[in-house]
Subunit: 249 residues, 2 copies
Amino acid sequence: MSNATASSIAPDEGAEPPVCATCAVRNSSLCSALSPDEIADLNRMSRRKHLSPGQVHVFEGDAARDFANVIQGVAKLMRGAEDGRQQIVGLLLPSDFIGGPMGPGDGQALEPYTIEAVSDLELCIFPRDGFEALLGVYPALERKLLDRTLSELQLARDWMVLLGRKTARERVATFLLHVARKMRNHGCQGGGGFDLPLGRGDIADHIGLTIETVSRQITQLRKEGILQMRGARHVLYCDMDALQKASGF
Amino acid sequence: MSNATASSIAPDEGAEPPVCATCAVRNSSLCSALSPDEIADLNRMSRRKHLSPGQVHVFEGDAARDFANVIQGVAKLMRGAEDGRQQIVGLLLPSDFIGGPMGPGDGQALEPYTIEAVSDLELCIFPRDGFEALLGVYPALERKLLDRTLSELQLARDWMVLLGRKTARERVATFLLHVARKMRNHGCQGGGGFDLPLGRGDIADHIGLTIETVSRQITQLRKEGILQMRGARHVLYCDMDALQKASGF
DNA sequence: GCGATGATTTGATCTGGGTCAATTTTGCGG
DNA sequence: CCGCAAAATTGACCCAGATCAAATCATCGC
C-alpha cells in the first residue's frame, strides 16, 4: 500500500525575487508563449516556493487559491483513502503547470488532489485571479494551456488502460518506458542511464500494484537482461525495444 | 473481456441541412459560447452524421480529420489490444465534444481512441482546420473548451483511482452513481429511475472487471435492497446514500 | 405466441497478485 | 570505516476476482 508517513506541511515561502528572464523553465513552460514584454505582467504577480521531500504543497479538498509552474524537482499528484490506499494520478516535472478547473464553475474551486514533493522542489506561484485575467489578455497563453491539458488528458486515459487491463509485468515495463522518455527529455541524463524519480512504494501507488509485486517484476526484468541497475534507483541501461514489447499495448 | 464482435464501419454521412438554431444541444454544448450571429460561421462548416449501434465513428490510429459534437445518443471511447482486452476510457453523451490534441503539435495528428456508437448516435461534424480557426476568433469558445477539457481530465484521474485501488463492489457502486447523475442531468428520466447506457460487457470494460464479476456485484446490491431493477438495463430505484457509502472514496 | 439468438446470471474451480513475515541492501551521519 | 534506520528483496501462503462452463432470461422476427 505504501508509506503512510505523516508528511509535514510546507512552512515558509521564500521571498527571493523571481526574475523570469533567468528562469530555468522560461522556454519550456507555459511562459514560453509570452514575449519578454508580456512576461513582465506575470513576473509582477509571481513568487517562489521551496519544498523539501515529503512536504505537501496543497491538500486535496483545500480551497484552490493559486496556480504554479514547476521549476525544479519532482512532485506527485495523488488521492487517497483514510485506510492507506492511495493512487498517484500524475507526476510533475520541471516546466509542468499546476492548476485545476478554472472558470466561474462551482463558485469556490477546491484542490482535487494532494500535491507532495518527492525531491527538493521549486515552484513559481501565481494567484488564481491574476493568472486567469492574463489568460484573457494573451490568447497564446490560453492556447498553450489548452494544448497541454489535452495532452495530459490523453496521458491520463492511457494510464487508465494500464490500470484497467495490463498485467503486473506490463505495468512495470510501461512505467519504466514512460520514465525513461520523460527523464531524457529533461536532460537529467548522460549516456543511456537515468534515475528513477520514485521509490518502489510510490511506483506501486502509481501503477496500481504493491511494493512487493513491483520489486519482483523489476527483479525479473533484470534477470532477463532487459534492465541493468546500480542500487535500487539508478538505471544503467535498459533495452527499450524489449521493454516496449513487454509493455503490452 | 467483452464482445469481440466485428463492428462495421459507418457508411453514408447524411446531408440534411444542419440548422444550429434548432439543434438539441444548442444551449448545452460548446456552441452555447457563441451568439446567434457567431454560430452562423459554425453552421456553414458543419454537417450531420448518423451512426447505428456498433458502428465506428473513428478508429484509433486514423488520421484525425475533424472534431464533432454529440447531439443525441451514447458512444464509447476505447482502446484495445488484439487479444480482446479492451478499456473504455470515456463515455460520450449529448452535448459532449469530440476532439484530441490540436495545435500544430506533431505534424499529423492521429486519433488516439476508437469511438463506437452504443445506441443510435447523431453527431455534428466540423472539419479540423475550420474549427481551429474559429477558436482563434472567438475567445469564449476556446475558454469553454478549456474548461471542459479540465473537467474531463479530472474525471479521467478519478477513474484512475477507481481502476488502481477500488474493489469490485466499490467499482460497480461508483459506476452506478456516476451514471445515475449523468443520466439525470440529461433529462432521460422520469421519477427516480433511469436506463443503463451500457451492457454488462461494456460496463466491465469501463471499470476494469469481467462480465461475470459485474453481474455478481449487481446481484449483490440488489439483494441488499440498495438497487431495484426491471430487466437488466432499467434501474427503477437506487439508494444514492448507500451507493455513495459502498463506492469507497 | 413461438423459437431462436444473444445477453445475463449462476456455479465450480483456478491463479495472479496481495498479504504477512523475514532477511538483505542501501545510504547515511558520524 | 561503522552502525543503523529506511528501503528493497525474497519466501510462504492466501484470496478476490478471473476463467471455464452451464443454465436462465430477454427480445425480436415471424
